[in-house]
């Protein structure tokens, strides 16, 4: 599995982590190229269906990162989001998706932290291997359709 390069989707808050990732770039820090960033206004904007959609479309892991609780641009967005994640994690756990979704707080000043966590998550997803559960569902369904229609 050494040549496996995971696809990791990062949902990041526009006001903290996105600028943190920008700082990592302007500071010429090198980090894993497996992470694709999607900028959202606030982590409170993150609908858990985004994460499910990411897995459906072939992501191997998801990073969700926003402001530290007291620093939220919208005062309470990241705190309300945290409550949601607590329950959301339980739902993923019960459904059998484990170790694929990672949560962080990265401020605009933490470019180094961003570089570190992306490397860390990439390594952890590499150890887990590709997320095949959803593609397997897909293939099984396609196969059953082929059988049904000669």
């Amino acid at each position: 599995m050494n040549d496996f390069e995971p696809k990791i989707l990062a949902f990041v808050c526009n006001w903290c982590t996105y600028l943190g990732a920008d700082l990592a770039g302007t500071s010429r820090l090198k980090y894993a190229p497996n992470v694709r960033i999607i900028n959202i206004p606030c982590t409170g904007r993150l609908n858990p269906l985004f994460v499910l959609k990411a897995f459906e479309r072939g992501a191997d892991g998801v990073i969700i990162s926003g402001c530290h609780p007291a620093d939220c641009h919208y005062t309470s967005g990241s705190s309300i989001a945290r409550r949601r994640w607590i329950v959301f994690r339980r739902l993923l756990d019960v459904l059998g998706i484990q170790g694929r979704v990672h949560f962080f707080w990265v401020s605009a000043a933490e470019g180094r932290k961003w570089a570190d966590i992306t490397d860390e998550v990439t390594q952890s997803i590499k150890r887990l291997g590709p997320f095949t559960a959803f593609p397997a569902l897909e293939n099984a369904w396609a196969a059953s359709r082929r059988l049904a229609r000669p």
Binding site: P48, R82, R83, W85, I86, D93, L95, G96, H102
Partner: protein, 280 residues
């Protein structure tokens, strides 16, 4: 006996114009069953029944336009249904002052010999007091929770396969949504097609997304009345998902839905002391 008492109560409500519509149960088409009835005339009260087969959660009708236009309803509701009415009031879907609740308690639904007793209350505040003393917390125990512990003891792959097996039977009839009083959105996420969040065909991917979204949208709100699971024609254990989220909310935020109509729902608020160990 409770049945006669209920009928006389309901009749008095209609005759005194305290209620315009009685939402209750009538005899079903087959033995040991009931179906909903909507009564506006006092002479029809004799059709109202009350027995251990009053399974349906009638609170589902309270948010419907067709029902609202009749005016002030009086609704026959068992203990769990009263809790779902309290959540509807908490979420500003119905007005508590317009409504009379004819509450009853039946500890063993489905058992023909079970006792059915009426609550001596009509207003939501009274029921909040009664429920707080009587039943608080007992809903977080029982067979469903034992099953849930069994499920959580499996490995994640086994759990995924378990749900894949269960969801593969889903035919996307949305009976679970129709039976749930708290699934009241006029436009459900599954009907949104730009973007398409949930594939409408009975495809494994769409089945997953639908059952995921349904459970998630009820997190911290579900009162565990069991209406979705009873409605499911292919017996998907939906209550397992509901129970898992209900227990998580109870443990982490010390909150049970359906006991207070005036406090903010747990997922619409926050505390600085919420768990943070999983965020690095």
């Amino acid at each position: 006996m409770s049945q006669e008492k209920l009928q006389s109560k309901a009749k008095a409500l209609l005759e005194s114009n305290e209620a315009d519509l009685i939402i209750g149960y009538q005899k079903g088409y087959v033995a040991n069953s009931t179906r909903p009835i909507f009564i506006t005339q006092p002479e029809d009260i004799g059709r109202l029944v009350l027995n251990p087969f009053c399974h349906n959660n009638l609170a589902v009708y309270l948010t419907k336009h067709e029902i609202k236009k009749w005016g002030r309803p009086a609704i026959v509701a068992k203990t769990e249904d009263i809790r779902s009415i309290i959540v509807l009031v908490q979420e500003f879907q119905i007005k508590a002052e317009d409504m009379t609740i004819l509450g009853f308690n039946c500890p063993e639904l489905g058992n023909p010999d079970a006792a059915v007793s009426l609550y001596e209350a009509a207003r939501i505040e009274d029921y909040e007091r009664i429920l707080a003393n009587e039943t608080k917390g007992t809903e977080l125990a029982g067979e469903t929770f034992d099953e849930l512990d069994g499920l959580l003891a499996m490995s994640p792959e086994e759990r995924f396969n378990f749900w894949q097996e269960e969801f593969s039977r889903c035919i996307k009839c949305y009976a679970c949504r129709a039976a749930c009083p708290l699934c009241y959105c006029e436009r459900c996420i599954t009907e949104v097609n730009q973007p398409l969040w949930i594939e409408p065909s009975a495809h494994p991917r769409g089945n997953w997304a639908w059952n995921f979204a349904r459970a998630w949208h009820l997190a911290g709100r579900c009162v565990l009345c069991g209406a979705c699971e009873r409605a499911c024609p292919v017996d998907i254990p939906l209550m397992l998902l509901n129970a898992a989220l209900a227990r998580e909310v109870a443990e982490k935020f010390d909150y049970l839905p359906g006991y207070h109509s005036k406090i903010a729902p747990p997922l619409a608020t926050f505390s600085p002391d919420d768990e943070a160990a999983f965020i690095h």
